[in-house]
Amino acid sequence: MFRKSNINLWLTFVLTVFFIMLFSTILIGIIAILMIHLGYLAPTDKSPITPMFLLLLLSTCVGTIFSMLSGNVILKPIRKFSKAINLVAKGDFTIQLEENQKIHEINEMAKNFNKMVAELSSIETLRNDFITNVSHEFKTPLSTIDGYVTLLQSEDLTTEQKQSYINIIMGSTRQLSNLTSNILKISKLENQDRILIKKLFSLDEQIRQSLLLLENKWNEKNINLELELSPIIFYGNEELMMQVFINLIDNAIKFTPKNGEIKINAYKTDYAVSISISDNGIGISPEMQRHIFEKFYQSDKSRLSEGNGLGLTLVKHIVDLSGGKIKVDSKLTIGTTFTITFPI
């Protein structure tokens, strides 16, 4: 790297002091010689105290003035730094320090400071995004409810119209309640760094039980289930794992057309437990696969009202906390497979 102009802070200090002393000495020397020449100081004077005292005083003054001038150069970046920190404290994350400082340490400090500010500002935008997202997700169903309730108040409605408005309202309330409970679950998981309550349970049976909970949904779409579940005794948090399966299976059902097929495989090797959930539904494009685990991300805009884009975020949190891995393989219009593995 090109670092010709970067000097060490210690060396700068030593050099500065050296030059201050050198200049002061030379200057005092010149003054002394001048004074002798002008006869203020005779070398044969009886008492040497007065001229010595005079020279001492002079050299102190000169040294101080030099220090003042050069100190300004060293201290300027620190003063700038202090000002910048003050601004950050007040919430201004746009401030940046110059990064081509002569002194190495000062330059490092400027760089780190800029990194810190960038980091802080990204957290700030994340937080803002989160609030925008949350309030948007809340407002959509709320305004739907509001609108249809208003419509319901008019008197000339057929029974079918009424029923369809009511269905829409019920769908929106369900979405709202799902939203609040998912936000709660995610924020709870974000504040913990490991899974606390663990016990042994049968994973294959848990998958069957999650399918039973979703029976209405797959029955309605006449989805064919292909299950290959070998007996697996798993050590982990039963309730959280249940949420993983419910969310993945729920997605598989939601994004698969009528008469589709969902395959679930679960098996255990000497090293790992592996579960895969495949559907032959609409699929996810490679571009979108990169985002599906993000909060509030929904790739299929036509189905926005059927969820909040929090399911996979929750799943990923749980799998990560449990020390597992989740992977997605998908082709648009062909289908999607989610695979989770836990080492044992």
Binding site: M170, S177, L212, L225, E226, E228
Partner: protein, 225 residues
């Protein structure tokens, strides 16, 4: 007519529950908290209790515990905003029969109430009727058009369990756990063997079928109703 006691501190919700239950043909009494509920229980005959968990004075868990301690055996359905496993466990430990998480779907509430009442009836009568088939728990006997068939114990319990909840799928594991016990040595194929025997016995039955749901388990469905 069944009488249901609704305990809920929120006025709007209490009114909603009562209205829905009345519409579905149940008589309702309402109470604002646990103490009021206990009072109502003393003065009225109640078939089923629906209670919120979080209430002032005496909460739902405590109310359930009190009632069970006083030997009230009526079905209890708790309704709560909490949905963690520990809370559910706490609910069941205190003696509740079923548990719903707010915001609840009132239609589902009605379905659960029906199921709870039917089960309570099955338990008190120890008898189950599907069309013209009657299962008599104490004698392990099935009557088909008045003709008695005595079943081996496990087979009878298996049929009784499935028939208590028509259309509900039971996994082999859950059947094993309940009928053979958690730590039984037999494996899940035992369930298949018993189901096959039952099917054989009731080939001719006009009231129900035992259906295999591939990969998941079994369910009883009522025929032509």
């Amino acid at each position: 007519m069944f009488t249901i006691l609704v305990v809920e501190d929120d006025d709007n919700l209490r009114k909603l529950f009562c209205t829905v239950l009345n519409k579905n043909g149940y008589q309702t009494i309402d109470a604002k908290d646990g103490y009021e509920a206990l009072d109502c229980m003393d003065k009225n005959y109640v078939d089923l209790l629906i209670s919120d968990v979080m209430m002032p004075n005496m909460d739902g868990y405590e109310l359930t515990r009190e009632l069970r301690a006083a030997h009230y055996e009526i079905p209890i359905l708790l309704i709560t905003v909490k949905e963690s496993f520990q809370d559910k466990q706490k609910g069941f430990l205190s003696g509740t029969d079923d548990y719903m998480v707010k915001p609840i779907d009132v239609n589902e509430m009605v379905l659960r109430v029906e199921a709870l009442l039917r089960r309570a009836q099955i338990i008190t009568e120890r008898k189950l009727t599907i069309g013209s088939t009657i299962l008599e728990y104490d004698t392990l006997t099935v009557f088909q058009n008045k003709l008695p068939i005595l079943l081996p114990q496990k087979e009878f319990y298996l049929l009784y369990k499935l028939a208590s909840y028509p259309n509900k799928i039971f996994t082999r594991q859950s059947i094993m756990d309940e009928i053979w016990g958690m730590d039984s040595e037999s494996d899940e194929r035992t369930v298949d063997v018993h189901v096959n025997r039952l099917r054989d016995r009731f080939k001719e039955n006009q009231d129900f079928d035992i259906i295999t749901v591939r990969g998941l388990g079994y369910k009883v469905v009522k025929k032509n109703v």
